[in-house]
């Protein structure tokens, strides 16, 4: 119980520290009229944190619902895209990793292209996905966005699957050989369980990347219902209401953190290892 209290305590301590840093910097910079090129610190470029949080509870437009209600709906919409994208990316990434693990030839042939796929900016890929899926195949917009998110999320999973499957103890492999185990049994009973810590390390990266991927994917698909759409929208009104954009960023960050926490929770439930082996 005291360890839980200590955890909460250190979390709050860091939070207070960050708030003080933000407000302290703002106060010092405004008092000294700090200039970085044309950048100056004022309530537009650097709003008060309490104004940002307060904005969440203001009406989003005249007589409309509160901003936090609007952003909550947007977050749910983006979360749906991100979950679908994460799952698609994880399954595809795992499948590619398993196939490449079993064929050195395919691995040599395909790995360069898989690496190359990640150097192409997602903003260059996204419009094509939207045109192909949305135009020809009549898929709903969020499906295109999920595919775009999956494009970001499969890569860490593939890389770590390759690493994890190769991590099985050579003695453990000899043991399987002594049992005349089939390649599938070796994969299912030894290599996959052995690679779980590697997979979860990848899932943590992919889970947060899927949120980013979903928000970016909303931009070229002109989807207004998600956080990406909200960011684009509030960006246009930044000068009149900078707090709205900052508040949206806050919600987006919280969404990413909650994705991460879900993976952490599943890892705790699934991975049975010596304590020192759990990340």
């Amino acid at each position: 119980m005291s360890s839980l209290a200590r955890r909460i305590g250190s979390f709050l301590l860091v939070l207070v520290g960050l708030v003080l840093l933000w407000e302290g910097f703002k106060w010092v910079a405004e008092a000294t009229e700090l200039r970085l090129g044309t950048f100056t610190v004022n309530d537009t470029t650097f709003p008060h944190l309490y104004d940002i949080v307060g904005q969440l509870f203001e009406p989003s437009r005249r007589n409309g619902p509160m901003l936090i209600e609007v952003l909550w709906d947007s977050a749910l919409f983006t979360a749906k895209e991100a979950v679908a994208g994460f799952l698609l990316g994880a399954v595809v990434g795992l499948a590619i990793g398993i196939v490449l693990h079993h064929s050195r030839l395919l691995q040599r042939g395909f790995l360069p292209y898989i690496v190359a796929s990640q150097t192409v900016p997602i903003l260059a890929i996204a419009p094509m996905v939207v045109v192909y899926l949305g135009g020809e195949l009549q898929a709903p917009g969020w499906v295109s966005v999920a595919v775009i998110a999956a494009y970001l999320t499969f890569f860490p999973v593939t890389v770590n699957t390759l690493r994890g499957l190769a991590s099985a103890d050579p003695r453990a492999l000899e043991l399987m050989r002594s049992y005349a185990a089939s390649p599938f049994e070796v994969l299912w009973k030894l290599k996959l369980p052995a690679s779980l810590p590697y997979l979860f390390a990848a899932f943590k990266i992919s889970a947060t990347a899927s949120v980013v991927g979903a928000m970016i994917g909303e931009l070229p698909s002109s989807i207004q219902d998600g956080l990406g759409g909200a960011i684009l929208n509030f960006n246009q009104y930044y000068l009149s209401s900078p707090e709205s954009l900052w508040a949206t960023n806050l919600i987006a960050a919280l969404l990413g953190i909650s994705f991460f926490l879900v993976i952490l929770l599943v890892e705790r439930l699934v991975v049975r290892r010596a304590p020192e082996h759990i990340a």
């Binding site: 453990a172 000899e174 049992y179 005349a180 049975r272």
Partner: protein, 269 residues
């Protein structure tokens, strides 16, 4: 001599590594009969573990062949004719003790009830009843190795291959497990091929000790161990035990041409 059919026949087996540049084993001939406990002893790098792996069809010999239960080593492996124990317990971290022991039974497609019953028997055999739901990392090294032995014996193989199974354990644990292994060997009626570099361990456990020379590995001498069974801790203090320890040591040092050094067998215990 026309005894029972050998469990293992090693016939002029040679093994070289790195495209023939390193000769690990040279023309090994050895027959192991049912119920025998044969130790392979030799200095590091004499190829004793390599020989054990060839018997288990985990690696292939460069020349010669191995017959296990009248079959090729490969067919014997496919028929799951042997259980194997390594120096490290090689337990699967993500499986409980019970699940580790039942791993080979899952491979052999035993049904769940049969598996559970056998796991219970095995836990009793290695005196770990009550630990079935623990994870390997919650056990001591000696307990882990007992789980590994239980796993190797779970499907009742007639042949048990052991590669320095107690090499990583402290001396006290090792001596206790030596005693336990002999009891298990007696209970199960299996044949054991045992790799070690401890002279005392080889003499205490074995019915025969095959002494190997360093690279290229050859069998220098096979020594019959005529200590009576059942062997107990008291066996280690009998004069005959010391004589045999000395005999094995002299064989290891290149034949009895050199007189035994002035120290006693105690030094190796």
């Amino acid at each position: 001599m026309s005894g029972p059919e050998p469990v293992v026949s090693i016939r002029t087996v040679s093994k070289s590594f790195v495209q023939g540049q390193v000769q690990a084993l040279q023309e090994i001939d050895l027959e192991i009969r049912p119920r025998e406990f044969v130790s392979l002893i030799g200095p590091s790098g004499c190829g004793k573990s390599t020989l054990l792996r060839i018997v288990g069809d985990l690696i292939q010999p460069t020349q010669g062949d191995v017959v296990v239960n009248g079959k090729t080593a490969q067919q014997a492996r496919r028929d799951r004719d042997y259980g194997i124990v390594f120096q490290d317990a090689v337990l699967y971290d993500w499986r409980t003790v019970a699940k580790n022991i039942s791993l080979p039974l899952e491979m052999a497609k035993w049904d769940r009830a049969k598996r559970q019953a056998r796991v219970g028997e095995m836990l009793e055999l290695v005196e770990l009843t009550g630990f079935e739901d623990r994870y390997p990392w919650q056990l001591s090294g000696g307990m882990q190795q007992r789980v590994s032995i239980a796993r190797a014996l779970s499907f009742s193989p007639e042949l048990l291959l052991m590669d320095e199974p107690f090499g990583a354990l402290d001396e006290m644990t090792r001596e206790r497990l030596n005693g336990e292994l002999l009891r298990i060997w007696d209970d199960t009626g299996s044949t054991v091929v045992f790799v070690t570099h401890s002279i005392a361990e080889a003499v205490f456990l074995s019915t025969r000790v095959a002494v190997m020379s360093p690279r290229p590995g050859r069998i220098a001498q096979v020594i019959d161990i005529d200590l009576p069974h059942p062997r107990t801790q008291a066996t280690r203090e009998e004069p005959r035990f010391f004589e045999l320890v000395t005999e094995v040591r002299e064989a290891l040092h290149g034949g009895s041409a050199r007189p035994a050094p002035a120290r006693t067998a105690e030094a190796d215990r």
